[in-house]
């Protein structure tokens, strides 16, 4: 069980309001990802759910019960921190067993549960080591193990992978995804990495300055961004936003077109421009095109074998069914 409801939640530090009134429902078993630019209040929101940060007003419900005043240890939530926050003087075994020991469980039962968790996380060989003698990925697995043994109602992750290198991050991403498949427990995951958000989430919550800009499944956010901010934030490379006469043709203040929805040709097309930088990734080529009216530079995705040179003239044609239109307030026009 783990249905979390936030109602009219606000948070101020001194006189600065970091989270204006906010409502959010996280269904049981869902993998919810909070994304947003740095400083938008993702961690604060997560810490409020965990109980580490007091609410300025509003209330939090966990499984139907008001949890606003419930101390963090009794909310039944487990948190995994970016810095792992392992206990440096304890072995891996003691670290994972610590929450059970605090719950005054029998030593024999603690041992059993620790072993089960360690097995599922491939930590059996490291049980008697101290955290200092582990690699970053192993430490993160210990932190996850410490969360799993408690059998929490929900897991809270605060950028758990951002201290790992790129390859390890992909591996751990999959492991966390599999963990969710296996346990079917609610997970709330904070990240500013798009790929993590898109690949792992059932539901993405896009935040900006403490305000929820949009809530939806990854593909919903990709195909139907509610406003210009979400449009620019979701997707990599960023969506091209075009203003001026081109937008007016579509009856909008701004139109947006993703780099992957633009056809590139060296002979003819709707817009003409000069190649600035071409980034060859092997599978794709990202070309930054200068000189298109209303959007400079415009990023387009071309096939990996596309060979264009700096200064060369190219023609671009947007796929008309994939053009997003936004009004003067930046909201989506259907």
């Amino acid at each position: 069980m783990g249905r979390i409801v936030l109602k009219n939640v606000t948070k101020s530090f001194g006189n600065t309001q970091v989270i204006p009134p906010l409502d959010l429902t996280i269904e049981d078993g869902e993998f919810t990802v909070f994304v947003g630019p740095s400083g938008c209040g993702k961690s604060t929101l997560l810490r409020m759910i965990a109980g580490l940060e007091d609410l300025t007003s509003g209330y939090i419900e966990i499984d139907g019960d008001d949890a606003t005043q419930v101390p963090p240890s009794e909310r039944g939530l487990a948190m995994v921190f970016q810095s792992y926050a392992l206990y440096p003087h304890m072995t891996v075994r003691k670290n994972i067993g610590f929450p059970l020991r605090m719950a005054k469980m029998d030593q024999s039962e603690i041992d059993k549960k620790v072993e089960t968790a360690a097995k599922s996380l491939n930590l059996m060989d490291y049980l008697d080591r101290k955290p200092a003698d582990l690699s970053g990925g192993q430490r993160q697995r210990v932190a996850i193990g410490r969360a799993i043994v408690r059998e929490p109602a929900a897991f809270l992750f605060d950028e758990p992978l951002s201290n790992l290198d790129a390859a390890l991050r992909v591996g751990m991403r999959l492991e966390i995804g599999e963990l969710h498949e296996r346990l079917q427990t609610t997970m709330i995951y904070v990240t500013h990495d798009q790929v993590e958000a898109m690949t792992m989430a059932n539901k993405i919550v896009v935040l900006q300055a403490g305000v929820i800009e949009q809530v939806g499944s990854p593909l919903e956010l990709y195909h139907k961004p509610r406003n210009k901010f979400v449009a620019g934030f979701i997707g990599s490379p960023k969506m091209n936003l075009i203003e001026g006469s081109e937008a007016a043709k579509h009856g909008a203040q701004t139109i947006g077109i993703r780099p992957e929805h633009i056809d590139v040709s060296t002979t003819d097309g709707m817009w003409e421009g000069k190649v600035g930088v071409a980034e060859h990734l092997g599978s794709d080529t990202f070309i930054h095109v200068h000189g298109v009216e209303g959007c400079d530079p415009m990023t387009v995705r071309a096939a990996g074998d596309m060979s264009v040179k700096n200064g060369e003239t190219v023609f671009l044609t947007p796929q008309s069914q994939n053009i997003h239109k936004f009004d003067a307030e930046g909201l989506r026009i259907e």
Binding site: A50, G51, L52, P72, S73, L77, A78, M79, F81, S83, A85, L86, Y87, P88, H89, M90, K94, F98, P99, M102, A103, R146, R150
Partner: protein, 312 residues
Amino acid sequence: MSDRKLPRLLQTPAVLLLLVWMLIPLGLTLYFSFIRYVLNNLRRPEWTTPSISNWRGFGNYEFVLNNKDFVLAIQNSLLIVCSILFLTVILGVVIAILINKTFPGQGIVRVLLISPFFVMPAVNAVLWINMILDPVLGLQGIAVGSINDLIGSLREAPVIGAFFSLWPELEPISFRATQTSAYAVIIMVTWQWTPFAVLIFMTSLQSEDQQQKEAAVLDGAGAWSQFRFLTLPHLGRPIAIVVMIQAIFHLSLYAEIEIVSRGNGNKNLPYLIGEFANNNIGAASATGIFAVILANIVAIFLLRMIGKTLME
């Protein structure tokens, strides 16, 4: 391997200096402890200059071991050092944790707390023994006197008087007496050295990881468990440092003992050395060697104990 040579070469002067600094005094002490060497002896004037021809073997050691004050001095050294260590570490941890929280007037409180450390040992001893611990004129005497006066006047009171007349008259403790002078030394040195412990523990507490604490809170650890399983192990190393440094300093306490009781019933090894050194340098040196051995035993024992209990 060859790129190790230059650093080694550069270290040599410092290492040599340290060796000379340590080895010459130690060597001389060892040498004197095996010969007859006194400052003044009319019948045997040849003993007044150190010479290998005055070889005495373990005679000086035997002489010291048979001295009636030797066992007392060892016991007293241990009692004083261990009590001070125990008290300063406990007080230091408690005070450091209390003042680590933010509160108004924090800066002033911290400076005041550190100030005893800047008082000279002899002054510290004079202040404590005369102004605070003195059974008549010190704070203690005044406090005991006024409590007695208060109880005395309560005895005259109508109903409750009967109850208070069952109370005994309080006796002030004389800290210059044979049995209690060691306690006076312990009290005054603890007062002086607690700030040192507080200072070291406070710096260490400030480097404690807050996310670990939050993780512990979520794991259901209360205040005591957080202290026991996170803070105390975190303080393990600083505690070891405080214990080591203080053990070195307090094994050689002298001024306080001189001022409180002139060694009356309260000698420690350095004081015994001082007494021997009035004339018998050989015996003083032998005692010095005993002191070195004792210091090593104490250090090893204490470090083992701290390592075991705190680091899990």
